[in-house]
Symmetry: C2
Subunit: 198 residues, 2 copies
């Protein structure tokens, strides 16, 4: 434990997190050395420990910030009193648009769970489950009201989130489809998957 995070943070702290995000996403947490992060930032390895107590906390903070940002962004645009189909369409468009802009954070949040200590994993998993619960609640409500036809709300929520998140594995800006077209296509797939007219 070197010191508390943030007490001296100027601009180097954010640059350390940005470099770690980029490198962890590209090479994987275990394959990235503190030396490599330091080189990306332009400081020596020892200086990193002014901004994070250790490498594990650096990873954990990146994941936590990503998941908290997703929840806050959805809470800000969520149509609250609205029919299930409209809420599902909004969720699908939001999820695709939000994730398409943060492929590195998404990659880390889904792929480096195994690199977390058990305590940190439990905290991240709770955040992930809370977000998944937002979709599950929409699906459950639609199933009850008869707007959706579902095999199982929990299974469908997991299936749809996997489908929507998958956009980050292939979408690149400058391709034949715009972000909005892609989001619309995924929303149409999601709506039809639960038996709602798209």
């Amino acid at each position: 434990m070197a010191r508390k995070v943030g007490s001296h943070a100027g601009t180097t702290g954010p640059r350390v997190r940005a470099a770690a995000l980029r490198l962890f996403a590209r090479e994987g947490y275990a394959a990235v050395s503190m030396r490599a992060i330091a080189a990306e930032v332009g400081v020596q390895a020892g200086a990193l420990y002014l901004y994070t107590p250790d490498k594990q906390t650096l990873l954990f903070d990146l994941m936590r910030e990503h998941l908290e940002e997703v929840r806050a962004a959805w809470a800000a645009v969520r149509p609250d009193p609205a029919p299930p189909a409209e809420r599902l369409a909004a969720f699908a468009r939001f999820h695709v648009n939000h994730h398409i802009d943060r492929p590195e954070a998404v990659f880390i949040a889904y792929m480096e769970l195994r690199a977390l200590t058990p305590e940190n994993f439990a905290r991240i998993e709770a955040l992930r489950r809370a977000y998944e619960g937002e979709l599950e609640a929409i699906l459950r409500e639609g199933a009850c009201s008869g707007a959706f036809r579902l095999p199982d709300a929990r299974l469908a929520a997991r299936a749809l989130i996997a489908m929507l998140t998958g956009v980050t594995t292939w979408y690149r800006a400058g391709g034949p489809m715009s972000r909005a077209e892609v989001a619309e296509a995924y929303a149409a797939l999601a709506l039809r998957a639960v038996g709602a007219p798209a």
Copy 2:
């Protein structure tokens, strides 16, 4: 380069690959040492190099074998002259059932692509694209015949494969749903997603 693979292989060769599969899936390629693999097998680290020229080739062989097995298994059960909806349902059930039994290989094949050398990556990517192409062809044919309503065959193939593969992130034997029920639920979602009555 230590030696050619297989020339002395008795039972230790397969046990090395099984141990590597298990450990790479649990900890990640970069986080697993050759010593750890050796300990899992019950030999010394140096002995591993009788069965693989290096760690990279061990990973590549695991991925290649997995992808070749998927394609062969699908070729064996694929309903060839059949209407698109039936072929899509068969593909979805096959994909879920096949992947649900191999969560470790699936995890590695999708998560450790970045750990491959460029040459090895290109070869693995070609195999993955070929498999994706099987689904894409079904969707394209269904779209042409009017059986399916799709935004874009390529996008839909990617979206559906991501959705179906996602089953490996949560399904565990002994849960409330059987394998067959889960496969059926995913098949229903897939069929409806492309506008075919499930």
